[in-house]
């Protein structure tokens, strides 16, 4: 067995980053990066919590002058932004990135380098947020940054830092979201069909899809606002045809789903811990999955319930009330399913069990007040008062942080190999739970007694001093609880009891490996035969010899490169072997390029912006450039023959295809947000295009459209040629380049005929941005085509290597064709049909 030991060591080396700082900077493995995500998020949590303590101290008594309005506004902006953008979502993403492979039975997540990029972008975004303290330009327009307060006239450089930091964090969020979705769809262990996925996985799948749509919308909106601030476009300036409510619509189209992006994974954690507490299968699994998916869908139809006081039509508001109330039913299903699961199981009292209890107690209250604030007339009164502050802290602390704490107590032994002290854990629970209620329950009453949100002081005559003192005392108590929790973690890391592989007798796959798990998670792909693979032992008669052969072939293999098994989306039958990249400096390079570009914008140092953009583009191109040496290495290994599965998969078996589809989904969402902007602005303007602006001529756009469609068709022909014969598809590829290039030229020529710029009217702003984004997409497709030509030249007969780049290129051209048609319809056809 000595030989096997060395083999295992070699396998571990293959999956580990090189030692030292270089290894730390080039790390791509999900486990260290997942931990890094979580630790960074916890540091931001401490900073956000500290800010909250200052806010509470200021509000303790009426007329307090501990911190003035300026600092108060800065601190509540940073507190909200930190907790929403820098703590909760990144912590959940980190937890998911760490746990997904362990729970799914794979060796890493779908795009390891993207994990690293996501982390760096998140870290840099957070650093930009907090750099504002060093330069004394702390953002002060709130975490929601309503225009025009956040616009160029009414706020300073702090909002620029906020917007650009946020943009990086959004990019990090979107990439992590794509990663989570594709990993869940493609990297499940053989046999883990959709109906056998743990609820936490379902929850992350739903949240991941939501992140892609919601964060992209916010990214588009922040981009538009930064253009208003930096370039002088007029999206949100009512004086020039813009609209201030447009920001609120776009923001809450992100902001409401955002709440559920945090809450849905939290319910997934609760389902896991409840299963462990009850020591039996979750009752009503299909109902819980349905409820989770339903909440994800409905949450995109709720955004207006943040805007009841803006004077919208009653009928529209009634619709949003009804939709909001449906969430109540979906949540009710989950609550009663958990209670039914626990019924008669006499669960042992443990910190995670207490946090589940605390979650139920607080979340049910927060849900009830949530129903109240979804009711239009009542919301007119309590909107933007402390009642709302109370409500969403009940939902976010009770509904997200309590489940997270339950989850941390549950998975801490798996991640660290050490057990947390239960006595200390119970203590910390009671301090947090009681402190929480003392802090936030009185805020309901404060709101009803007329205390608005976001005020640094209040007059004594409102009679709010007593309640505020109680809230501040509660905050201190809660702080002690969190410090006890941290102390518990610190002590456990130093000398906690060893946990063993499975301290809770858990049901899911992560409990089948050692604690802490090996860096490759599974040396042999596991086989899943039930919803609870750890509870229900394998039955020999259900063994599929083909799957067993695949698993044996993948046992501690391949040794030449990192790889994991790809299975099909619904039934999880082995489909392909996916080679995964090892350590790489590219993620850090690309993220640094973005950071430099953004810092250049902030400092109005354009050379730096250009330099950063160049670094980003070069980094991305070398990242995505197909590498023939790598392909040859992958092909030369025996793993394809041993498993009988392709290693250079195309179609549904290729994660790269899913990456391209995800990218196209992001692009479609961005265009969707821009089209929404276009029609929203049109709806509120007297004439469209506005007076003084002539409708753009249609001839050149028509030519550009036809040429773009021709280029896409050429790309499709090129792929068909390379699929069916070994002849060179060069003619078609060159055709795509020429037609696409011609389309771009017509595009730019069309611009020179416009009699308006992006700044004098919002029409011009949205017109230029939409056509600009379209041109960038076209450029991307052209670059991709050039890459395929460079890669294929002289190797046109190597159809196997060419298949994937060709497929991705055609997908991109297809996306471009759809984008071109829709942009043409919006910018050039709709004014003819709807214009005045």
């Amino acid at each position: 067995m000595n030989g096997a030991g060395t083999r295992e060591e070699r396998f571990t080396r293959l999956w580990s980053a090189p030692p030292g700082l270089r290894g730390w900077l080039t790390e791509v493995n999900n486990q260290p990066l997942g931990k890094r995500f979580m630790i960074t998020a916890l540091i931001f949590f401490l900073l956000g919590g500290l800010q909250a303590l200052f806010l509470r101290a200021q509000l303790t008594v009426s007329g307090n002058d501990l911190i003035g309005p300026e600092v108060y506004n800065q601190l509540f902006t940073m507190h909200g932004s930190t907790m929403m953008y820098l703590f909760t979502v990144p912590l959940l993403e980190g937890l998911a990135l760490y746990l997904l492979p362990l729970m799914l039975g794979s060796r890493d997540v779908a795009f390891p380098r993207l994990t690293a990029f996501s982390y760096w972008a998140y870290l840099f975004g957070g650093i930009i947020f907090y750099a504002s303290f060093l330069f004394d330009v702390v953002p002060d327009a709130g975490w929601f940054a309503y225009t025009p307060l956040s616009g160029p006239r009414f706020s300073g450089a702090g909002v620029d830092l906020w917007l650009l930091g946020l943009a990086l964090v959004e990019v990090a969020g979107i990439t992590a979201g794509i990663e989570i979705v594709v990993t869940i769809l493609k990297f499940r262990a053989p046999g883990m069909s959709l109906n056998r996925m743990p609820i936490f996985i379902w929850a992350m799948l739903v949240a991941g899809v939501m992140i892609i749509f919601a964060f992209t919308t916010l990214l588009t909106a922040t981009f538009m606002l930064e253009l208003d601030r930096a370039v002088g476009t007029a999206f949100f300036d009512p004086g020039r045809g813009g609209n201030t409510l447009l920001w609120q619509h776009l923001f809450w189209f992100f902001g409401h789903p955002e709440v559920y992006i945090m809450f849905i994974p939290a319910t997934g954690i609760i389902s896991m811990v409840v299963t462990m507490m009850a020591r039996r299968a979750l009752v009503g699994y299909p109902l819980i999955v349905t409820a989770t998916v339903l909440i994800g869908f409905i949450s995109f139809g709720l955004w207006v319930h943040h805007m009841y006081t803006t004077g919208l039509p009653d009928l529209a508001m009634a619709f949003f009330t009804a939709a909001s109330l449906m969430i109540g039913i979906a949540s009710g299903i989950q609550v009663f399913a958990w209670i039914a699961t626990l019924w008669g199981t006499r669960p042992r009292i443990s910190p995670q069990a207490l946090f589940v209890f605390g979650f139920l107690f607080i979340f049910v209250l927060g849900g009830i007040t949530g129903v109240m604030v979804a009711v239009v007339p009542f919301d007119w009164q309590v909107h933007d008062t402390f009642f709302i502050v109370a409500h969403f802290h009940y939902v976010l602390i009770g509904g997200v942080i309590f489940p997270l704490l339950a989850g941390i107590h549950y998975w801490f032994p798996k991640i660290t190999g050490r057990l947390l002290n239960e006595g200390l854990g119970n203590h910390s629970f009671w301090w947090i739970f009681l402190g929480f209620n003392a802090t936030f329950f009185p805020m309901h009453i404060m709101g009803l007694l007329g205390m608005p949100r976001r005020v640094y002081t209040y007059p004594q005559e409102l009679g709010l001093d007593g309640l505020n003192i109680l809230a501040t005392v509660g905050a201190a108590v809660m702080t002690i609880g969190f410090l006890l929790f941290l102390w518990n973690c610190w002590k456990a890391l130093r000398d906690g009891a060893l946990a063993g592989d499975d301290p809770w007798h858990g049901d899911s796959l992560e409990w089948s490996v050692s604690s802490p798990p090996p860096v490759y998670s599974f040396i042999r792909p596991p086989m899943v035969r039930s919803r609870h693979p750890q509870w229900i032992s394998e039955m020999d008669d259900s063994r599929d010899p083909w799957v067993e052969r695949v698993r044996d072939a993948m046992d501690c293999a391949p040794m030449e490169f990192r790889a994991t098994l790809v299975t099909d989306t619904s039934h999880a039958k082995p489909e392909a072997v996916q080679p995964l990249p090892g350590p790489s400096h590219l993620p850090l390079v690309v993220a640094t390029g973005l950071l430099l570009a953004f810092v250049g914008v902030l400092m109005k140092f354009h050379l730096l912006s250009i330099g950063g953009t160049v670094v980003t583009i070069i980094g991305l191109v070398s990242w995505l450039w197909p590498d023939r040496a790598w392909i040859d290495l992958v092909r030369s290994s025996g793993i394809a023959a041993a498993t009988g599965l392709p290693v250079l998969a195309t179609g549904r078996g290729s994660t790269d295809r899913w990456a391209m589809l995800s990218f196209l989904a992001v692009l479609a969402t961005a265009f969707g947000a821009l089209f929404y902007t276009y029609f929203y602005l049109q709806l509120f303007s007297d004439s469209w295009p506005p007076d003084g602006i002539t409708r753009p001529a249609i001839v050149l756009p028509v030519i550009a459209l036809v040429l773009a469609l021709g280029a896409a068709f050429m790309a499709w022909l090129a792929r068909r040629r390379s699929d069916t014969s070994t002849d060179s598809p060069m003619l078609f590829l060159a055709g795509a380049l020429v037609l696409g290039g011609g389309s771009g030229v017509c595009h730019v020529l069309g611009w020179t005929h416009l009699n308006f710029t992006a700044v004098e009217h919002a029409y011009g702003s949205v017109f230029w941005v939409i056509s600009g984004v379209l041109l960038l997409t076209l450029l991307l497709a052209l670059i991709f085509t050039v890459a395929v030509i460079t890669f294929g030249k002289g190797h046109w007969d190597d159809r196997e290597a060419l298949a994937l780049p060709m497929e991705l290129m055609v997908l991109l051209w297809g996306g471009l064709a759809i984008a071109t048609v829709s942009v043409f319809a919006v910018l050039h056809v709709s004014p003819i049909l709807l214009g005045s």
Binding site: P69, A141, L342, P377, F378
Partner: protein
């Protein structure tokens, strides 16, 4: 005593106590039909919500404390359907219809007066288009009938909120929103900006005074008389100082050359109850301090300090306090 009551109230009793108290800025002390309808809606939802909360937590405790191996009433699946789907559906549909009913009840049938209010950073411009009165940071209206408020914003988003009379309505730049409010009886309540609007969002409030209809007519006449009186008045030293020191660059006094509306209209200054959008009471000493150091009482506000010797300050304050002196 009041403080002790409030602390104990958070344990559950207080909700009733505060519901009965007198508060100038409270949702729970409704003084109009609309606010009463909303307060009733709140109490109904609070009671239903409490019952639901107690029931759910009760089920939870029975579930985890109950006998080992016991089953939920009616079996697990029926329990989820009944508790998680049917029960919330009935409650929520009930609330939805009640809410629609309240929404309809808050629609005013008509109005007897129109008042325009414009939100500024951080004060309120108040105009009476029918009588030509322009004032700031204080709203007078007759009790009894509905008053239509036409709301807009000069700079950023604000929100108009007098909780004793109605819910809030946002004031948006470039858009006019409306809300009709009434007060059943004469009285004084406090209104407050309800949307974060920058530095001094906290100290952007106003007093709303509802008069008996006859008193309101008298108020209108007195204001109109005061505004025309400024035309004939002689040039006092204080008035000269007002223009010498550039006060007219931001403020208006009807009947004089001061017509700017960057800051609040001062035509009726002496008649007003507060200074700086309800930041401090309108007293002589506070007014003098406000001129010399406006940020003492309201940090961050946009009025520049005016340094002037004591005798000039006295003359200026004399003049300002002569503007529509209280009857």
């Amino acid at each position: 005593m009041r403080r002790t009551l409030q602390i104990s109230g958070t344990l559950g009793i207080l909700l009733f106590l505060v519901g009965c108290g007198q508060h100038v800025q409270s949702v729970l002390d409704p003084q109009s039909d609309e606010a009463s309808a909303i307060a009733d809606l709140w109490w109904a939802m609070a009671i239903v919500g409490s019952v639901v909360f107690v029931a759910v937590m009760g089920f939870f405790f029975v579930a985890v404390m109950g006998k080992d191996g016991s089953r939920p009433p009616g079996g697990a699946m029926r329990f989820i359907w009944a508790g998680g789907i049917i029960m919330p559906a009935i409650v929520l549909v009930g609330i939805l219809f009640y809410a629609l009913h309240v929404t309809l009840r808050t629609k005013a049938p008509g109005h007897i007066l129109t008042i325009e209010v414009v939100g500024h950073q951080w004060w309120w411009e108040v105009r009476y288009p029918e009588s030509g009165i322009v004032t700031a940071n204080e709203i007078h209206m007759p009790a009894g009938g509905h008053v239509l408020f036409k709301l807009s914003a000069h700079d950023v988003v604000h929100s108009f909120w007098v909780p004793n009379l109605h819910g809030k309505k946002d004031m948006l730049p470039g858009v006019t929103t409306t809300i009709a409010m009434h007060a059943r009886e004469p009285g004084v309540w406090r209104g407050q900006c309800g949307e974060f609007c920058g530095n001094q969002h906290a100290l952007m409030a106003f007093d709303l005074v509802a008069h008996a209809p006859a008193d309101f007519d008298a108020w209108v006449e007195a204001r109109q008389a005061a505004a025309s009186a400024t035309v004939q008045e002689e040039r006092t030293r204080g008035k000269e100082l007002f223009f010498q020191h550039g006060c007219q660059n931001c403020h208006a006094i009807q009947g004089t050359d001061a017509i700017s509306n960057i800051g609040p209209d001062l035509t009726h200054l002496a008649n007003r109850r507060t200074l700086g959008a309800a930041a401090t009471p309108n007293e002589r000493a506070m007014l003098a301090q406000w001129i010399v150091n406006p940020r003492a009482a309201k940090p961050g506000n946009n009025m520049p300090a005016t340094h002037l010797p004591q005798d000039e300050l006295d003359a200026l304050v004399d003049y300002l306090l002569s503007l529509d002196q209280r009857p």
